[in-house]
């Protein structure tokens, strides 16, 4: 039986496994992740107040619970195991590593203190172990650069009040931090006019429900003649006449960022240009949401350069790329589902032509690395997080990697196995 390893347990990796098993349910599929928890972007990138979107994880859980897929956690490509070693152990290797690094704001002052990437901030709010110690600096006045859906997630979380997080899994320490910062004024800027902005109109409609926010619009006139565009219509419907507001949110269109200024190494203003106009906004922090790059750019560039079919994600017969790691930071979770189906079809065709000896698969990995975790380990983490949950929340995530690993291995308090309970 051919053995398949998918590296990355996020939505693209899980959809790839699902699509492969749809074509042949007898395939032996392992999904590897560097963390002891699965679901990648669903757990760490989708905003904590979008539990409906995170519910797609229920589909992926079936892979492990009913369809025989093996989860292997705590394995980092290039550290725990090299790509060559993985290819030697498996017939097929699919890299679904995502694009997790914020594209930096390449401008004067872009490296000042108080400037954070939206991906890192979102991971922090989602309790990703890598960002657990990095408390983003906020302050009263926040400038968000970029107007895609990630920028809108950051804006919404900054503009919400504690009761608005009911039903989320945003840990109260984050709401305390946001409230403590006293965020009161948020400017969100983009280069495009509103009708060409990247956000989905539903994201703006969702904001309109926040009764304590007064909205203002700058540059909507650039969309003259596009009043019927759903983005423009959603923006025009935002409440602007709010007598008592705790937060002011201003959407500004057509502004290109030029530079950031600072005092004592910390950002204090952001400057933008629109034709002959210059705009300077005093601020306490800047959050950039201008796209994502790979955390291992060298490997990705190299694989794409020698790919037989970069669009589908075929590097060569036996090595494939999926999701954003393949196609770049564009497209939603379901877009990756469609792409995974095309990739699976190609992998099945290549599988038919495989020759050579039986590969050892996970046995080789586990023999060399006794610290790897499994799906039962994730279930212990899951149970501990659900048990620790406080009022108004659906989960209390563990942000500390050592604690996650201890829970996964059954060593931590609260990770009682059925044996010890019995």
């Amino acid at each position: 039986m051919p053995k398949i390893a998918i590296v990355g347990a996020g939505p693209s990796g899980c959809y790839a496994a699902q699509a492969l098993l749809k074509l042949d349910k007898t395939l032996e599929v392992d999904i590897l992740d560097r963390l002891p928890v699965p679901y990648g972007l669903v757990r760490y990138g989708v905003a904590p107040d979008h539990q409906g979107t995170k519910a797609v994880a229920r589909q992926f859980a079936r892979l492990f619970e009913r369809q025989g897929v093996r989860f292997i956690g705590n394995v980092t490509l290039g550290e725990t195991v090299t790509l060559d070693a993985l290819r030697a152990a498996y017939d097929i290797v699919v890299l679904a590593l995502g694009l997790s690094k914020d594209r930096p704001l390449d401008l004067p002052g872009g490296d000042l203190g108080g400037v954070s990437g939206a991906g890192a901030v979102t991971r922090h709010w989602n309790d990703h172990p890598d960002e657990a110690g990095q408390l983003p600096h906020l302050g009263n006045r926040v400038v968000i650069v970029g107007q895609g859906n990630v920028a809108m997630d950051v804006l919404r979380i900054l503009a919400k009040q504690e009761p608005d997080f009911d039903g989320s899994d945003l840990h109260p320490r984050h709401t305390d931090h946001i409230t403590g910062a006293g965020v009161a004024q948020i400017d969100i800027l983009g280069r495009s006019p509103a009708h060409l902005a990247k956000f989905d109109p539903v994201m703006v409609k969702e904001l309109a429900k926040l009764e304590h926010v007064r909205f203002a619009l700058d540059g909507l006139e650039l969309s003259e003649g596009h009043e019927d565009d759903p983005r423009v219509a959603a923006l025009a419907a935002l409440p602007q006449d709010v007598p008592v507001a705790s937060h002011e949110v201003t959407f500004r269109f057509g502004w290109t960022p030029e530079r950031l200024s600072g005092t004592e190494g910390h950002v204090d203003a952001a400057f933008f240009r629109r034709g002959d106009e210059e705009l300077g906004l005093s601020c306490d922090s800047v959050i950039t949401a201008i796209g994502f790059d790979s955390h291992i750019p060298g490997l990705r560039d190299d694989l794409l350069a020698r790919a037989e079919d970069a669009e589908t994600g075929v590097v060569d017969k036996g090595l494939y790329l999926a999701g954003w790691f393949c196609r770049g930071p564009r497209g939603t979770i379901p877009d990756n589902r469609a792409a995974a189906q095309a990739l699976a079809t190609r992998i099945m065709a290549d599988l038919g032509t495989l020759t050579g000896a039986e590969k050892p698969g996970h046995a080789a990995l586990i023999a060399a690395h006794p610290d790897l975790t499994d799906y039962d380990g994730w279930l212990r983490i899951d149970a501990a997080e659900l048990a620790a949950c406080t009022d108004g929340r659906v989960r209390a995530k563990v942000a500390d990697l050592e604690t996650l690993l201890a829970l996964a291995s059954g060593r931590a308090p609260g990770s009682a196995t059925p044996e010890t309970e019995g």
Binding site: Y15, Q18, D49, H50, Q51, G52, T53, A55, V56, R58, Q59, R62, G167, D200, P201, V202, K205, E206, A208, P230, I333, P334, R337, A338
Partner: protein
């Protein structure tokens, strides 16, 4: 009863729910399942009860896999007056356009004469219910309601 489960999906959640319903009904009924993307409106059959599961996507739109079906309905304008269906919607109340996909699909089917059996039941991804906890009783109830229509002679 001959039952056809049809799903309109974007993320795969509606498809998974249809698989659950299929497993639940199998044995008691003659069940088939299909993606709306692979379904021609002209092939809907009068002797079959159609159970439709449909999500919502984007700005209250039909999900990707239901869009070609919706377009075919509008282009072909088939006579569906002999067709019976029930519908279950998946949505997310975070959004203003909550469950508009299933609402649009039900309205489209009705426009061309199809008869809806019972009310549309909707699931909220932000709520505490599991979709299958609502959908399996929905399927049982609608099949009971449709029993007379498909009484075997």
């Amino acid at each position: 009863m001959k039952i056809k489960l049809l799903y309109g999906t974007e993320t795969g959640n509606a498809e998974m729910l249809c698989e659950d319903i299929e497993a639940h009904l199998e044995g008691d009924h003659e069940v088939e399942m299909a993606n709306l993307a692979d379904t021609d409106p002209a092939d809907l059959a009068a002797d079959t009860f159609h159970l439709v599961v449909c999500s919502t996507y984007g700005d209250g739109d039909l999900p990707a896999s239901a869009q070609p079906f919706g377009e075919a309905l509008e282009a072909d304008q088939p006579d569906l007056s002999a067709i019976h269906f029930a519908i279950f919607g998946l949505g997310d109340s975070s959004y203003e356009t909550y469950n508009q996909g299933s609402e649009k699909l039900a309205a489209l089917l009705a426009t061309y004469g199809a008869h809806q059996v019972g009310d549309r039941v909707i699931h909220d991804a932000m709520g505490g219910d599991m979709a299958e906890d609502l959908a399996l009783p929905w399927a049982d109830a609608r099949i009971a309601q449709a029993a007379d229509l498909f009484a075997e002679t």
